[in-house]
Symmetry: C2
Subunit: 390 residues, 2 copies
């Protein structure tokens, strides 16, 4: 047994509760039971063929060395064109920094913005890793309760009520995880104005951009141009395992981000950066759009189906691939319901524990990262369990 | 101009001085001048064909999703077998965690070991990024002067003199950068015993393991079994741009490292992990060993050639691909000599500024990451410049 004392941070950072549920789901599958997976935050589609082929071609061409810390210049330009082409938002390629996933971007962003003893505002419910990027740099995550009243988005009013002189930054996500809800343009602009007024950093997580099923979401580059915008090739572009993302930030901060990238990561994956160039071609785009249509179809099925069964899903879950349900009409313990669903109905879904501090026992997240017929089977199984008396 | 105050850490982390020299070298090349590159810390060989082919096959097979946070089980097992096969050092695969490069491993290791206000001992001269991993978690890097007396390795005696009650960890590298020198078994065991006695963490950076030209280096897994050992697929295995590394640690710490990996990175690159499996085949091994022979041939040429020209290179630079020279017999300003070498002789080498705090003006690093005939041309050019009066 080691006599070395691990950092206090090591104890503050918590593992995901869902891991125990996942392990149980795998046990049941190993024992032959069929499980409908509605717990997984990863698209069920493999990387699109044009992207995979571009990766294979890059490897065949020997593209295996380090790249500049800020990223492959052609990729920074392609991303800039993407903003211009699809969002009518011109962005200077020099404001873009390529990162090892949105995860790497969040390490760099928090390292740039927050010092020990400061705090960072985050929406509650929210993505569980975000508070741990804050813990990494020894700032304190400050959970700000968000409700259906603001479509689970952190607004200027909520931020103003929660901020204090030690607030270093505000982190928001749109479309959000676990709620799938979007920030409106006015709300995002209001939040940006508040951050500017206070001189605090604003981090806008747009990793689910592209996956929206109503109006397109408000754009950080348009409505919060002074913020650090985080994006990813994982979700809309379907490159999860490649670990590639990017950040957009004010030009004057780019040398700082590049310095941190260089020291902390050297550069993002070279094969992945070359492969990602193919994400912006017409063939890949058509695949991404057909996948978006599949997600929309699933959302359009699952949302009313769960509401019908008594899951209360307020607001407008118009993006990403998650529904966040208030289950208090069905149970007073969401973890117990999740366990019953898994053990007795063969449906894996995530209780609120990982996502919120306020009322985790009242909430569950359902991911629609599985095919329609599986979602239909899942809903039928849930219905049977509830009919049988929960 | 943003009114947001960036973190204090953003200012403490310094860019590499060599970047200005690199930019100048690229300008000269763009203007048509021939430059011999002896400044680059990356092998000049592309990834070996069996590894690239394995990567291409993995992509064709659709291996593009997330992997477990600790890494692909088969890769953890292959690394464990590698220790057993080549170093007679059995390691439990469960003690191995796969990371996004040694860089990602160092983020995790420092996050595990050091809290704000504590300090971490590092050898000076040393790898410039290392102090910035310490800065990331707001501990203080404490440079410990190492000399040719200990082959530039940090020993228990030096650590004892530098440690205080706020010392959280000690970081060493063998073979070291910029010196190419190795820690002996007794020295490494002594340092491990000291760390254990004080209850401080020991991080042993072995990313240049495999690249040794005399006796094999002492093994952290044998001589410092309670330490966190950092390794990489970048150098010996030639996978720089893929960004893949690993850590070995006491079994009881693995859940902590996995928790951090999961939160900070999700997992290391999936195509890279599949490709890396091919590193342990006979065909790849033969390529790596022939490259090692090439590095050895270059070292055997460059070391006496530079010494002949008045570069004082003490100790035993028997590993990695660096020579670290005391240039005080030739100049009183190594940065000026580096500039003259670049501008007037077309040879790029790195002045001591990035590597040490004690006497940077007296030192330069030469990398032998270029072909023999280029090294020969470089030495001839250096000789001409020195004959012409520096």
């Amino acid at each position: 047994m080691s006599m070395v004392t691990l950092s206090r941070r090591s104890h503050r950072i918590q593992p995901f509760h869902v891991m125990a549920l996942l392990a149980r789901a795998r046990e049941l599958e190993a024992a032959g039971q069929d499980i409908v997976h509605m717990e997984i935050g990863e698209p069920d589609f493999p990387t699109a063929a044009p992207v995979t082929e571009a990766g294979r071609a890059a490897l065949a061409a020997g593209e295996t060395g380090y790249l500049p810390a800020g990223g492959l210049p052609e990729l920074r330009e392609a991303i800039a064109r993407h903003y211009a082409d699809h969002y009518q938002a011109p962005v200077d390629p020099q404001r873009i920094v390529i990162t090892p996933g949105a995860s790497g971007a969040l390490v760099v962003a928090l390292a740039m913005l927050a010092d020990p003893g400061q705090n960072v505002l985050l929406p509650d419910p929210g993505y569980p890793c975000n508070r741990n990027f804050v813990e990494l740099v020894d700032a304190r995550p400050r959970a700000v309760r968000v409700t259906a009243d603001t479509d689970y988005q952190l607004t200027a009013g909520l931020a103003r009520a929660a901020a204090d002189p030690r607030t270093a930054a505000i982190m928001v996500g749109s479309p959000g995880n676990p709620t799938g809800t979007l920030a409106g343009a006015a709300d995002l602009a209001g939040l940006a104005a508040f951050a500017e007024e206070r001189g605090v950093g604003l981090i806008v997580d747009e990793i689910y951009h592209g996956l929206h099923y109503g109006d397109p979401p408000a754009q950080g580059v348009v409505h919060a141009p002074g913020s650090i915008i985080i994006n990813s090739f994982s979700k809309y572009f379907g490159m999860t395992g490649w670990r590639l993302g990017w950040m957009v930030m004010p030009a004057e901060w780019v040398p700082v981000a590049e310095k941190l990238m260089q020291n902390l990561f050297i550069s993002a994956s070279t094969p992945a950066q070359h492969a990602a160039l193919a994400c912006f071609g017409d063939e890949a785009r058509a695949i991404f759009e057909s996948r978006r249509a599949a997600f929309r179809q699933r959302r359009d099925f699952l949302l009313p189906a769960l509401r019908e069964l008594g899951f209360h899903i307020p607001g407008h879950p118009d993006g990403a691939f998650y529904l966040y349900a208030d289950v208090s009409g069905l149970t007073d313990d969401s973890a117990e319901l999740a366990e019953a669903l898994l053990d007795r109905a063969g449906v894996a879904a995530t209780p609120g524990l990982d996502f919120e501090q306020t009322a985790p026992e009242r909430h569950m997240r359902f991911a629609y990262t599985t095919a329609m017929e599986r979602l239909e089977a899942g809903v039928e199984r849930i219905a049977q369990l509830l009919r049988a008396g929960g």
